[in-house]
Amino acid sequence: MQTKSAGFANIDWVRASPWLCTIGLFAIWEASVWVFSIPYYILPAPTQIGYAMYEFAGALWFNSIQTLWTTLLGFAMAIVFGLLLGLFIGWDKRIYAGLYPLMIGFNSIPKIAVVPILVLWFGAGWLPAVLTAFLISFFPIVVNVATGLATIEPEMEDVLRALGAKKLDVMVKVGIPRSLPYFFGALKVAITLAFIGSVLSETIAANSGIGHMMLTAQANFEVPLVFACLIALAVEGIGMYAIMAGLEQRMTGWAHRSGFNR
């Protein structure tokens, strides 16, 4: 970067950009609410939401942590199960062909329809939320790991097989490392889905968590608090996404070597 004039030209715009956009969004929001005098029970202004956050800080914190744990537990299950199932399906074309339609079918079921069944089996509380987070987030992990395995270069396989390599050798030396970028990419998608799953279940049948808190706030007509809950969720989502993206960059830096969007 050029350093001919101090100040303005020295700002790292790539780093500043997310902050500027976020602040800009809230500023426009705030201004619109005042200019069009929108009542707070339709759309509260960011300042009103901020006040609600301050007012209910304790409860908001408690429920956010609850939702975070629920989500992470379901997500962890999705990682373990998704990775194993992905490797299993990617192992053989016939397994892939057999299980893929079943998985598509399962993934097409709206998870909101599954929650009542989970509640029936396990009762209301945190367990259905964990399971919903798990059920909604394992699919992208499975698909991506299986895709990584399916796209091994045939020449590479020939090189190894001509040396007498067993299928397990090809899997360990080539298949698994090759599918890691897909796996870590899938984690970024899966963590946001996991939040959707846990909050969904909490809004239907739970006695704590952000979803439950939102439902209560709505019933009491505390619209700013409803929005405060949404923002708390967004913050958690961004935080977890950042962790996953950092992990991806750290583990599979070799896969991100193009200068395409620099």
Binding site: E153, V159, L160, A162, K173
Partner: protein, 263 residues
């Protein structure tokens, strides 16, 4: 001289999908290669040259006929072969040295020794890399190397376990003319030094004449050998001979056979 690779009256049929016709890739294919010889196989595109490579390494089994390697019938991947392709297919998460060492992690007895004796293997990899002009490139990642350098590293990977048979499937096709000629000399010198048996599949007639003892011409599909031409120029050959009359005549003669093969 003893016959090392013996493909006798082999046919290979690829089964198509249900409804579509089967493809007969090669039929009545006969090829004998003596130990230590360098043969080139040329032919029109789609004539089953790559099929021949897969037959010789036991990656495919013949539908009819027999493939023998070192006197034994091939009935599974042979593990004494090294292969290099047009695409260098390096693993991007491994350093160039670790890519070269990949066969060692698979082939017996090295796979049991490589963990405990990493330093020795590392040194061996650096030596072979140096022999093809890649001094100090071992720590770099393959994607940091140029196409020609990657192909050199790919040759090292094919040769690291001292295979008795080296199979090259158009390894220089994607390179520019100067790099290609450099690599002809690299493979010539490696062959001179290590005395492996080599089958080179190519569509570059100059390449075939420059490197091989015998050039085999394959017909259009289903492929078989229609002409085998011994190259009488003594080896090792300097690159300058490619501009001499004898060389040009040989190339021209082979070109005529290819034109016939295309029909």
């Amino acid at each position: 001289m003893e016959t090392f690779v013996d493909i006798s009256d082999v046919a290979l049929r690829y089964t198509g999908r249900a409804g579509s016709q089967d493809t007969l890739a090669v039929e009545h294919l006969n090829l004998k290669v003596h130990r230590g010889d360098f043969v080139a196989v040329v032919g029109p595109s789609g004539c089953g040259k790559s099929t021949l490579m897969k037959l010789a390494t036991g990656l495919h089994f013949p539908s009819a006929g027999v493939v023998r390697l070192d006197g034994k019938v091939v009935n599974g991947p042979v593990s004494i072969a090294g292969m290099a392709f047009q695409n260098p297919v390096m693993l991007p998460w491994r350093s160039t040295r670790d890519n070269v060492l990949l066969p060692m992690e698979v082939v017996d007895p090295h796979r049991r020794q490589i963990r405990t004796n990493r330093t020795k293997y590392k040194q061996q990899a650096d030596e072979i890399l140096a022999s093809v002009g890649l001094v100090g490139a071992g720590d770099q990642y393959p994607w940091q190397l140029s196409g020609g350098m990657q192909q050199r590293a790919s040759l090292c990977r094919a040769l690291i376990h001292d295979p008795e048979l080296l199979l090259l499937d158009e390894p220089f096709a994607a390179l520019d003319a100067f790099t290609r000629e450099e690599l002809w000399c690299v493979i010539r010198d490696l062959h001179q030094e290590k005395q492996f048996t080599c089958i080179l599949v190519t569509h570059d007639l100059r390449e075939a004449v420059f490197l091989a003892d015998t050039v085999h011409v394959m017909s259009a599909r289903p492929g078989q050998i229609i002409v085998s031409r011994t190259i009488p120029i003594p080896r090792p050959r300097p690159i300058e001979i490619t501009y001499e009359t004898e060389f040009a005549e040989l190339t021209h003669e082979l070109r005529g056979h290819i034109a016939e093969a295309r029909g």
